[in-house]
């Protein structure tokens, strides 16, 4: 069955038009990822208007290609100029740039490119194998569970995406509120439109995403008049030839770093709210801890490039696993991918892979093929990158804003969407300026109607609210939402307050309750392990006399 679906999906993708579009997508993504200040999400969201006229498979394959290209593009700028092209490649500069400056830019690039490739491949294999399994678990979800899953996605995104949890939660709530404007989907009544007919259709969420993410970012990039007139990068070694063979040899000697980092990337991608920007630092940190020569990190060692590049390419595989299996976007880029699916009338849910196997497997195949294309295109795009670096930021901003003015209209052929773009561009700019993270707001906009529809379905079944705490999955998501919301508080006080010693054991014990309630065999075993770990941690801390030093280890080790 799986082979049949894979064969059919290949048949859908393997035509000249789709492959050509994918090549253009990967090339565009590589360049977009290489431009500092131009994020992957921005590249993917700006591709959306081009894809709406295409068949679903073709459009989604193009979007996936831009995504894969963007994930790998950041390394070019990071290694050659020392300025990370995207937040996902920040850690790549730690060792990539020093290696390039030591006279080995070709090797550094080669290691980066091949690590990205292997990371992407591991992630793609996991995507194909894990997404259908996770979708099976998703079939157990009822409206109460889905509602709580959305709440969990919002709280964890808010807690991970900014220094101030309150601001993150406010941003998420504003996103949910923005989605309530216009006719409600359940009964079709006008809401919060203040008598304005144009607002009846609500804010198109693609226009909102482009406004919040692309428009506001460009305004930020040109804020400083002097910096806006400068070329995108004015330093570093630009000329280099990728040394493929030497790079593969270096990576083969350190294959454990590749596998570990890719797994870190996939896990981070699965976790809602945590994206490539966290994964690359986490993988670098773990590679350094596991190394026999950690003191050499930062001077241009191969592991320092392998770890972040394997992990950041693996992240999107993880995010796509959750998106394809549950319909919940793990990060902003996945939220944009959800937008692309919705444009093509495809609503991801646990039944998506079973009901639309060819389309689902086309996305998997596109992810595979795009990773190969990325490998082939890197050398060529390096030359284009040299040309792109000569462009001045204000020119790029002008061209992209001009594109927004045309592309957003093309989505629905409605002029009001352009006004939506402008107002949300201003809102996004103001929010960034005042320190409000945009990721929770974007997830709020994307997930707002999913939350409301599931609440409506739950209420239609029974007006009793107790299933939110008596259904195992709903209770599980509620518990981890509460603990994820409390995480910033825990981080701020760890090592200072006694209660922080109870955070981890309490989280383990609380999460084990719904797992026990789920029944079966594996989940109660997992619950028992969690309970055991929680009790063991409590015992250790009791033995340690509740000394605060006992917990003052790095946060990530827990």
């Amino acid at each position: 069955m799986i082979l049949e679906n894979i064969g059919a999906a290949f048949g859908e993708i393997a035509n000249l038009t789709t492959l050509g579009l994918m090549l253009v997508g990967v090339a565009g993504g590589l360049i977009a990822g290489a431009i500092p200040g131009f994020t992957i999400a921005m590249a993917v969201v700006l591709t959306l208007p081009f894809t709406f006229g295409m068949p679903a498979t073709q459009g989604l394959a193009t979007m996936v290609s831009v995504l894969v290209g963007g994930l790998s593009g950041g390394l070019m700028a990071g290694i050659l100029t020392g300025i990370p092209g995207t937040p996902s490649s920040v850690a790549t500069t730690f060792d990539g740039f020093p290696m390039a400056r030591k006279g080995q830019p070709g090797l550094a690039l080669g290691i980066g490119v091949w690590s990205s490739f292997f990371g992407g491949m591991i992630s793609a294999v996991l995507l194909v194998t894990l997404a259908p399994q996770l979708a099976r678990i998703g079939l157990e979800f009822n409206p109460w569970d889905y509602f709580m899953l959305v709440m969990f996605a919002l709280t964890i995104t808010a807690s991970l995406s900014g220094r101030n949890l309150t601001k993150g939660l406010i941003a998420g709530a504003v996103g949910l509120l923005a989605r309530t404007v216009g006719e409600d989907e359940a009964v079709g009544m006008a809401r919060l439109n203040f008598g304005n007919d144009a607002l009846l259709q609500g804010f198109d969420f693609i226009a909102v995403l482009i406004g919040l993410f692309a428009f506001s970012q460009l305004l930020r990039d040109v804020r400083d008049p002097e910096a806006a007139k400068k070329s995108l990068t004015e330093k570093g070694t630009i000329h280099a030839k990728i040394e493929h063979r030497a790079a593969i040899r270096e990576i083969a000697k350190r294959w454990t770093v590749v596998v570990r980092s890719a797994l870190i990337g996939v896990f981070t991608g699965i976790l809602p709210g945590a994206g490539g920007s966290i994964a690359n630092i986490l993988a670098y940190d773990q590679a350094k801890k596991a190394s026999k020569n950690p003191e050499k990190f930062g001077t241009g060692v191969a592991e320092g490039i392998i770890a972040p590049e394997s992990s950041n390419n693996a992240v999107e595989g993880g995010a796509l696993i959750v998106l394809m299996a549950l319909g919940i976007p793990g990060d902003v880029t996945a939220a944009v991918m959800l937008g692309a699916l919705l444009i093509h009338d495809v609503v991801p849910s646990p039944t998506f892979i079973a009901e639309e196997p060819v389309l689902a497997y086309s996305i998997f195949i596109a992810f595979f093929l795009a990773t190969f294309m990325m490998l082939g295109l890197q050398s060529f795009m390096l030359r284009i990158f040299v040309l792109v670096t000569k462009i001045r930021m204000y020119m790029l901003a002008g061209i992209i804003l001009g594109f927004c003015g045309i592309g957003v209209f093309a989505i629905n052929n409605v002029e009001f969407d352009l006004w939506t773009l402008l107002w949300f561009g201003i809102l996004g700019f103001v929010m960034r300026q005042f320190g409000f993270p945009l990721a929770p707001m974007i997830l709020g906009v994307v997930l707002g109607n999913i939350a409301e529809l599931n609440l409506a379905r739950a209420m239609a079944i029974t007006t009793d609210l107790s299933p939110f705490v008596t259904r195992p999955w709903s209770l599980f998501f509620l518990i981890i939402a509460i603990f994820s919301a409390a995480y910033p508080l825990f981080q701020a006080h760890r090592g200072l307050r006694i209660w922080t010693l109870l955070y981890l054991p309490a989280a383990c014990l609380a999460a084990s309750v719904p797992l026990f309630m789920m029944g079966g065999v594996p989940r109660p075993i997992l619950a028992t392990l969690l309970t055991g770990y929680g009790l063991w941690t409590l015992y250790r801390r009791w033995q340690g006399g509740w000394h605060l030093e006992a917990s003052s280890q790095p946060a990530l080790s827990e």
Binding site: T166, I170, A186, A190, R191, R220, M395, I406, E415, L455
Partner: protein
């Protein structure tokens, strides 16, 4: 407390917005069918937002005025490392002139869209924006004109001929 800090002002604005929006939820028609009223979900979200804004206000008031709020100081959140705006309205406008130009010109593009259409309007928008951001000398003028024509013209062609989208032609083009 001599004066409110910036976060407190934002929190008050948020609370006022919540009040207005909550009041407007009372004008939402309630049908006789369906268990979840159309006004329930917006009210739940507004309730949460009001609570969070109140917490934000309390946090801001407890912190008191911060150096960020002092006139002429850098903005901690701007992230560009540049010194902040000089005191007064003129200083503020000068500091934010580029984003203000972008907003203003995009607004003008939208206002003139029914007349100029997306092709002429788009080219003019990109050309003018590049001019105000990059300068108006002769070399720039030629470069900006070429870039505006090629980029907007190219995108317009892709959407019109490649994807079959009917973009606003404007009154200038529509007689043809």
């Amino acid at each position: 407390m001599g004066r409110l800090n910036r976060d407190a002002v934002i929190a008050i604005v948020l609370l006022m917005a919540c009040g207005i929006l909550f009041w407007s939820t009372f004008s939402i028609r309630v049908p006789e069918y369906g268990q979840l009223k159309p006004s329930t979900w917006p009210r739940v979200v507004l309730g949460v937002l009001t609570l969070l804004s109140a917490i934000y206000l309390v946090q801001s008031l407890r912190r008191g005025p911060t150096p960020v709020d002092e006139p002429g100081r850098g903005d901690a959140n701007s992230g560009d490392g540049a010194p902040g705006p000089k005191p007064g309205l003129i200083g503020w406008i000068l500091y934010w002139r580029n984003p203000l130009w972008c907003f203003g010109l995009f607004f003008a593009y939208l206002m003139t869209l029914p007349v100029l259409g997306s092709l002429i309007g788009g080219v003019l928008f990109v050309f003018t924006l590049m001019g105000v951001l990059g300068g108006w000398n002769a070399k720039n003028l030629l470069q900006h004109a070429a870039l505006a024509l090629i980029s907007v013209g190219g995108m317009w062609s892709i959407f019109t001929y490649g994807l079959g989208v009917i973009l606003p032609p404007g009154e200038i083009f529509s007689p043809f």
